[in-house]
Assembly symmetry: C2
């Protein structure tokens, strides 16, 4: 139908959402603090991307893609094959979210880094960019993603959309437009096209499609920027007046909120992103943290305790649907396993979620000794759940009880990954993709990556990283 | 966030929407009447696709695509280049809707044929299908598209989504799953993936992105089927329980309506699709029809009338925002031009919307002699607007008045394109893409296409069509 379609053609540009986003994408500058946080987030996301790329879902996707033999192809981390940039973004994006180990922003209930970095990594080889330029584009893209989500509010997620995916396409387009140095008109068109490519439903959570969403968002963000560069033109005001905000909030909002200003501060700096410390459901993080603290401080292990109890906030156990896990995928959502394995091993990492690790008889025998108690009351969500305390109480065989309460979300700015933890996660992830990889090479690649902001061209480091993973 | 994600993994399949769609996609049979209507729709859509492919937006898209030199590439209609199937679907889809000349279903306020046929044409060369198989898959895909829209109701469109695009991805996936003979599990995954790839905003109407949407829907429908075939797995119940229906209706509905049964009858048969008779806004169709009737019946032309008046229903002039058009794009939405050109030329076709035709001094001088009057009252929408009368009244220089009222929508089942009109539209469209094309070749290709249901393999005819257009 053509009916309601042409009024915009002559209408003045009065979209404050577009004005706000355009101003930011065209002129924002990332200061040292932003670059430092972006550098941390990029390293963390790269690590989980490389690890995710060897999972079955990512392998299925890879098998469906045609490698691109041309020199302009984007090289892969996992094979000697290269891919067209849209396929590369799809594959990187799906891999980045495959383990659900990438960072989180509780401001918008989304994973901000994965879609944006995946698009940039697929775009970057053709652009020949410096580390600072990449990090700045990354910070800009994640900021657009998060603030657009804040503009819409939680109704977006509640209706059934997967915020990481829907917002990710626009954030990735903003990042790519900046990286590709599109002019103002083309940046505007890129954002308008991305608004129309925004997709993803929560109903596909619990399937391979959840991580595919991130690939789609990355590929679509990059596609939007490339189509705009090629001369495809969209609306001047895609976000308001029955646009993106209305459609994706179920009509709850149709305007950019007056007080919401991009980059003041960047969300990556304040409140920062939550980086996952453990490769499992974020709702297990506080109980793992508490249990590991108790073990390290008291020397108690699984054999020396009689029983274990976890006290959770209302709503906190909703995703923890596998009290008696029979494989690694189950165990990602198992409170008893998280506590028992933490006590048994003194660590939680990717190896903790191998099927064989989960099926160990001495662990399986103790799962019923873990009691999980959820507080009464209305289920909490989002930031409230993030700031609610979790307590682990151990009853040693020798008597008495020992408790530990965790309030700050592990990986948040209140309890950030320490540099050694970030490095350990890097090593753990790279070894998952490539068990033969030399640990010194892995460590050197990390140290080099920490200084990404000072790289004159990121391609050298990326190439060494790819060579390391593909050959190791 | 992993929080609300895993409950589905173990939940029973109780989605009646999925059950309804699956039953239909796996087992529906198209009878003779359905095949006959599908054949008409395919020919009509192919014609406008071929014409749309030479427009600036489609050319910009084409310039951004990498041709695929491999023998498995999908050949193009417009050049000797072939494309990867996803790029082919994108280009066919954008071209199919570029002129806004493709068919309409007032049941869902959408263009049903364009996204579905574009996906099938991109998928078909690898599948080697018969005409009947193609038409059956086409009828199934358009039916899924329309009924899913009916399930959601008008709120979907009102919120800001572009129904042709959002529903198109799922309809195209259903069609491709059927064409590719995916098994039940993979068909289910294809539909789940497509639900998550569904996108498109009305705010991009009036720009090149409106037609790009159709390309995206076609490419995503095909991509969903291909990813499912490759082993990517989605949710068992993507449509209900905070799924597709909730998200895209702003929470207004979350269930498949009890009385809505796919294919009983197929919407393509009852009430049928509206095929555009004129290459311009559908709200101009009745006034053009009335004016041409008056001219043919009375012999009056533009020179012999003093003034012209159009009476429209409430809301009927909303898109007609260019009373004094200065180019062809303006004229697509100009009531005075539609009436004046109909009277001057005795026909409305693609040539009527060339810039030079619009700027003719004898037409421009008379635009102010056309008065358009909209009825008072609340603006009508959708089917109501479609069934409202439009009256054209001419005042000849020799005195008196002559009126004609049109009630049935031109191109609807009440006033269908006649076989000669369908053929004339075909010829007009093919000549637009290729002015040198021999008229006998064009006519022969049409006659051959009319019997599409009896083709053992559609590739021969498609190849002759491509060769004709590319070489003509």
């Amino acid at each position: 139908m053509s009916m309601p379609l042409t009024k915009q053609a002559d209408a003045p540009i009065h979209s404050s959402a577009m004005q706000e986003i355009m101003r930011f994408v065209m002129s924002a500058r990332a200061d040292e603090a932003v670059l430092a946080q972006a550098s941390r987030a990029v390293l963390d996301t790269l690590a989980v991307t490389i690890a995710g790329g060897v999972e079955p879902g990512a392998r299925a996707l890879k098998a469906s893609l045609d490698p691109d033999p041309r020199p302009t192809a984007v090289p892969s981390f996992w094979t000697q094959a290269g891919y067209r940039s849209d396929d590369a973004a799809l594959l990187l994006g799906m891999s980045s979210h495959m383990l659900d180990y990438d960072d989180v922003s509780m401001l918008t209930v989304c994973h901000p880094s994965a879609p944006v970095l995946s698009a940039l990594l697929a775009a970057a080889p053709r652009e020949g960019v410096s580390g600072a330029v990449l990090l700045e584009a990354f910070a800009i893209g994640t900021e657009v993603l998060i603030r657009l989500g804040q503009a819409m509010g939680f109704r977006h997620y509640a209706l059934g959309f997967h915020a990481t995916a829907t917002l990710g396409a626009v954030g990735a387009a903003a990042a790519c437009a900046r990286l590709m140095r599109l002019d103002e008109a083309r940046t505007r068109h890129a954002l308008a096209i991305a608004a129309s490519l925004s997709s993803g439903l929560r109903k596909n959570f619990g399937s391979m499609v959840k991580s595919l969403h991130v690939g789609i968002a990355a590929a679509n963000g990059l596609k939007a920027a490339r189509l705009a560069a090629a001369g495809v033109e969209g609306s001047a005001e895609p976000f308001e007046d029955e646009g993106f905000l209305s459609a994706f909030s179920g009509g709850e909002t149709d305007r950019w909120p007056a007080g919401l200003v991009l980059g003041q501060p960047f969300a990556i700096v304040e409140p920062g992103f939550e980086q996952k410390r453990y490769p499992c459901c974020y709702m297990l993080h506080k109980m793992i943290e508490a249990t590991l603290c108790l073990r390290h401080e008291t020397g108690l292990d699984l054999a020396s305790v009689k029983s274990m109890r976890v006290d959770m906030p209302a709503g906190g156990t909703k995703p923890l649907i596998h009290p008696f896990p029979r494989n690694g995928l189950n165990a990602l959502f198992s409170a008893p396993y998280a506590v028992a394995a933490s006590l048994a091993d003194g660590r939680i990492d990717l190896k903790s979620f191998a099927d064989a690790a989960v099926l160990r008889p001495d662990i399986q025998a103790r799962l019923r000794d873990v009691v999980v108690v959820e507080a009464a009351g209305e289920a909490q969500t989002g930031s409230d759940l993030g700031s609610a305390p979790v307590t682990v109480t151990l009853t040693p065989r020798q008597g008495g009880t020992l408790s530990r309460t965790i309030i700050a979300s592990p990986g948040s700015q209140q309890d950030p990954l320490t540099p050694p933890q970030l490095k350990a996660k890097w090593v753990d992830c790279l070894q998952r993709a490539c068990p033969e990889l030399d640990s010194q090479v892995t460590a050197a690649l990390f140290d080099e990556g920490k200084n990404l902001a000072s790289h004159a061209n990121i391609e050298g480091w990326l190439m060494r990283l790819r060579d390391g993973v593909a050959q190791g």
